[in-house]
Symmetry: D4
Subunit: 250 residues, 8 copies
């Protein structure tokens, strides 16, 4: 509730257009639906620029389906992460535009396809095994109205493969870099570009990779100053923030 | 070395304006100065939008002074982090514009004061003890040509203090959030704004804060999707990335 | 064995009502049953205010059934945690009042339904996925004779959902707050209420949540002074302590 | 700001006693003082039952003195933790009732000595070296209007010392247990009493005690159901929560 | 090869009873059998007082069977740990005296039943779930020729159950204490007895027990001076060392 | 691209044999094939002495088969690690020389059997359970053209077994030592030989072995100066580096 | 209080020799002195075979002096660990037999020099830097009435130095092995002897030794079955348990 | 003692040239000097190719001086690591060739300057602050008779600085790479060269670098197959192994 609308409400009260009890209720009448097990936040779209995204893990298919139905009913775009084909089949019956992205393990249903991004978002992966996480970032950014340029399998041990992609990297407005094992790629990319780099550690590796901790620490200690980091395997978060950075300015 | 200049070099070779040996040398003649203990990267400014910043820790005062002198000699802006008054005194003899920022423990000497930012960068701190790190972010962003709005001591255990600053937060193009202890502030701020949030964990706390690890983990696991994270106490990095995000677009 | 009963025993010995050997045996005759693999502590009810609770994990169905039968035979209330439907079916044949709580994965059989609590215990969850642990707390508190108010899915990234529940929170005598991921909710709740807050970290999350460690550390480092913490996923413990705090005073 | 006062404000607006702009300002005029580096929360006393406590670490003596002066000026009780004699000397010039508690490293200035507790709070320490943390709990509880019973050096390796104190333990309404090394004492005490036990791990120990982590983990995994835990060395927090639990009921 | 036998070998060489080449070979001809994937150490019995024990995990049933057959063929006692019924069935065909201990998951075949222990070894468990590890210790000690006294489910949260067993504890020459969760039991037992206590942490617990780490750290930091520790779940090692300590002296 | 070939390219441009645009393209035309999900680095053989090795984990059978086919088509040797029999069956249809190494879980197809090593590489394992990792090292070294001497099950608790192998150890040019649990073997071997020792921790163990971390730390802290370490279970890496060290010199 | 004395007390009550109130008090009158900050346990000597040992760290010189005086006044032997020369000077004025052991940083005052050990206790150190901890074990064992054989600087990287000491090792009844860095020595010693081995990790090392954690983990994972472990740098504990094991049997 | 000399000894015994008792003593008379606190291993030079190196930390100046004197007296080369100028002054009085290397904090005294290396050892550092550790490697390698090529401050965030050094890197027979922070440099170097790469993590960094752990993990998880790792800050070990690899072959 913005200051303007609060001011307007107060004026309405003074003018007698609204009585105090109604005003009180309106202040309390918050813009979310309570399903008991979940409170869907329909105002998030106004507040943060994108509707609530459904994180699939830890929710039953029933719960996901019901939340999705309500989001779709409002004409918003739908994004479900960390989900599977069974859930997709349910939702695709509700909305024909629903797509399943196998590698990314995501469902999207885009009812509003406005182009919201200014430039290109580059999504870079160090190895073949990092691609599912990279796809989560790429699909998210696409669903949020951005152009995405995928540059995969350009790990630092074969540096010429990366240098070869220098032009693509330099022309991006934001770069998402996805890497497991030692997580060195964001530092090298960070030194090559002037755009912000969002580093995503993946759980790819074994032994002392500790499920992505080695990559995470590598990225947090990056000697490139333009690198920020998200959680291990959080391709969605990287794609989301990249979209915010790339948003058209008024 | 861009494709255009490479093309031009090759054309010059064909036209006989440059002979192959000279071309070879030019390709090898890289744009940095080698002081033996340090290779100053003068082209970084072209490549990444800002000259090399000197991280003071681990360098002798002599080394810092020499590197600083060379950066200043090229007319670039100077930023030294994690330094002290002794080093400041040395450099201020070289350049009269040099300033010392006591809380941030930084030196800046700004020879180019172009406004580079589009909007405002908000720098938020959870507690009084987090202010030195917040100042590192704020001084960095200012030195890189941005307007900065400081909002300090608005930790989550007194949520009304934060809500009170909602308008300032919402009008920022990027928000840097600095917090120690449980590191919860970025999640709450992240839910209030639609801009990207850069979270900086600090080493403030005791016992199970483990020198900032608790705050770091809290931020990496933020339930707000618009949060990315930098290293513990890395105010500089947060200010740097915030500046890149806020940069004016052509 | 209280000082009073010891005094009485000694008087009985002096009066010759009990001879020393019998007294010695009585002192040794401790109030538990030894099933070899388990020693059921029937005096715990007198000593700590509630009969022994059966933690289901690590015990065979046979063992649980036998221990349960003995507790029920004494007319005490029965609580089994971390169990399943198979065990429920066995016990429900012994006692018709037995209930299975699916989300909480608990069995209760209440033979004594005395109201023991003074006020209301609020049980709050950050997300939908945290509900099973919250239910463990809520079912425990109910079984121990308390009124419980459930407030679910009010995570800090949508702070207005929580603020909306402020009145319910403020009227509770104790608040149990269940949260995974960054575990920030107890700090915010702690700042809103004057009651003690019992924080329960959950293992919900991925990557750097480390199975609940991030949430646990967040809660231990809470900047709100009224927060104490129990083990990861220990909804039972939180419900138990909340019941002790809420107990009617003589 | 309570619903009642909001209602009253709205009625005042309708009645024309307050115009909308003033109402708007009043809603924004939050009950804290902004010293720039700190926002003192004077309404906390109403909201949480006790004025803001000053955590000394990480603040300059000047800052502590100024914050203290403002709290004292409002007639509230003052508690400063983790501080030293120098700060005490400054504050004792402002207020004659100021006391310094050397072992606890705390300053208190009690302007309101109302008895607020119902029963007795027992503060128990495992070893001699744990006493400073135990004193922090005891001084806090005393300053908050409670009767405190200190039971020190009753570690589990000499169990008869603890059993000897059984009556004192059983007559307490809350028990704070402070222990370093293996942190086993809360589990044993928890089994002896029916009151809630607040366990405080200390950093006492060496080698694999990891600065209190061993004790912390021991307490989180306590097999006694009535134990909750606070941060390592957080005697203040334990004393604070114990005071809330022991508060007289209306 | 002892100094005496070396001396004898050298004398034999001088006397011409053995020629240098044969002596060389004999020195090299070490007392183990090389199965390529395993070198069975038949002299261990002489050297360390007990034949090589087969750790079942990480070996194929074939490998275990072959190693067992060779040990049995020499008339030695056989102990296999961390194994299963399938392996038992194979070995019991080779040797009729073979027994399977289900809870301990061990196989023993005792061809030599000499009593080797002097006193009694007490094996104590904190909870019902710790019994499998306690049984591993008890079966090992029995197989090595000792009398064992099992005292199970005497965790510290019901201290009277433990105190009740005081006489049994005090009459033991060594006490093995097995506990998960907070691992406090060895400290309490250590304070009650004058014998050495061997503490075995178990992986029983959840959340912050970290698979036994909490118990392990608790035991390493025990405030009782007579406690030493073995690896998590290493009941075998505890039973083995207890047997060495209890060995009859010449 | 070496300086010589760059020089030659530039000369060709000057002589008009190549026009600038073609030269530009040639500089960009890098020596790898892009399969989209993988960029096969065919020049690695020239650059690092051995063709790209396929790490099987995290790739689909289809992906492995396609990458393998391309490597084989160039006449290079093929090594696939961490794979299984299903993949072997596919590749063996493409190339008859394909072998499956069951214990090592590797596939090799050697089209070039040049002897590249100078001396012998010893591969030593501490226990029977460490053999799969040791085999990964041994198969790798063999495939890279070396003679390998396997010395298995010579753990430090039976030191005479190791001393017995002293001559074999001393005649090796490099020693790979594979050990789990406490990882002590490399230190002892390191003291016996003058060659470099490559230590490979394995995940063999339980409890406080933490999946190989105990062995890894033991090796990193080796008091023998000639020991370097690779990742947990990284037999391949050890065999690879041993091959580089043993390479014939020109 | 033994069953016999309890029986006698009860008989005395019956016979009228003691009235119930006095008996009650006597039961409560426990055999320790309460100095408020410490409860000195004078019965420990009867109960555990040795008087209470004073751990110097965390106690003030005053406290140590007072506790020491009381122990000496009862004619018991005195051991103070982790102390310094200042404390020694104070105590030596009280008792002339007081000695200061500089390397071990211990004070002993032996008023009873009975030989209590049966055999010899070997104390072995891996390196020169481990000697202070080894001395703590050796001084403790000597003070408790044992013969001690010191074998220092026999680390595993020079295995012949250790093998040379084989006879001394084999003739010991208990072996204490002190090692930092990789902590491998106990495993090798464990394989050479049939006696129990008590392993003491030290904090000697750097980097990934993590203050002794690497050595601790190495020892807990020892492949020798006769090894138990105490806390990092806990020479005292090792010497204490070794003394218990070596005690003469009745 | 080699098989040959053992054979010879046995022959001498048979021939009567040596009697069995003398032979026994000779077998026992091991080639080290026992200073009680240290056993200097004079045969190490024969056994491992270089005399014992003195690690300065944890030894008193007296101890270092005495051990050094004995090593020098035998005409061997002396290397002391982690030492200081005070120790240097003492030793330089004993031997005029003694040098102090300030950055590396090492002392060397080279009495034998034979060139032992075949090719060049490159020592590479990522940053200016890593130079002390790099110097430890370089000084060690030089003292062991190798040519060293130092390439400093070529961190991955300015990749062109590294690529510029490609020729130097490719002509080295071994490359030592020293890096703190994210430790990414060895992976990039590893992809550029065909020689073995020895990676040295340094403790340079802050926050989540955890004293070098981030760099260590990065290196252990390197995606370049030719990388092995030594302990944090262990420049000496890296220089030592590099020397072994580079040794001239017979």
């Amino acid at each position: 509730m913005s200051p303007e609308s609060l001011k307007k409400l107060l004026v309405d009260v003074r003018e007698g257009r609204i009585n105090p009890d109604d005003a009180l209720e309106r202040l309390a009448n918050l813009p979310y639906e309570n399903l008991n097990y979940a409170r869907i936040d329909h105002h998030r779209e106004l507040r943060t620029g994108f509707p609530e995204v459904i994180m699939g893990v830890g929710k039953t298919p029933d719960q996901i389906e019901q939340i999705a139905a309500r989001i779709l009913a409002r004409g918003s775009n739908l994004i479900v992460t960390r989900t599977d084909e069974e859930v997709f089949n349910r939702i695709s019956e509700v909305n024909a535009a629903t797509e399943y992205h196998r590698e990314a393990r995501m469902i999207t249903a885009l009812q509003d396809r406005t182009e919201r991004g200014d430039g290109v978002i580059a999504v870079v992966s160090a190895g073949t095994s990092d691609i599912p996480v990279a796809e989560e970032a790429a699909v998210t950014a696409t669903a949020m109205g951005n152009q995405v340029n995928r540059i995969y399998d350009v790990g630092v041990a074969g540096i010429h493969r990366l240098l070869d992609a220098r032009d693509d990297l330099r022309s991006a407005r934001v770069v998402v870099v996805v890497a497991g094992m030692e997580g060195a790629l964001p530092s090298v990319v960070g030194g090559l570009v002037s755009a912000p780099v969002i580093a995503v550690p993946t759980s790819i590796g074994y032994g002392a990779s500790f499920g992505g901790v080695a990559a995470l620490l590598g990225m947090l200690n990056s000697c490139a100053s333009n690198v920020t980091v998200v959680n291990i395997d959080n391709g969605f978060g990287a794609g989301f923030v990249a979209s915010l950075i790339n948003r058209k300015r008024r």
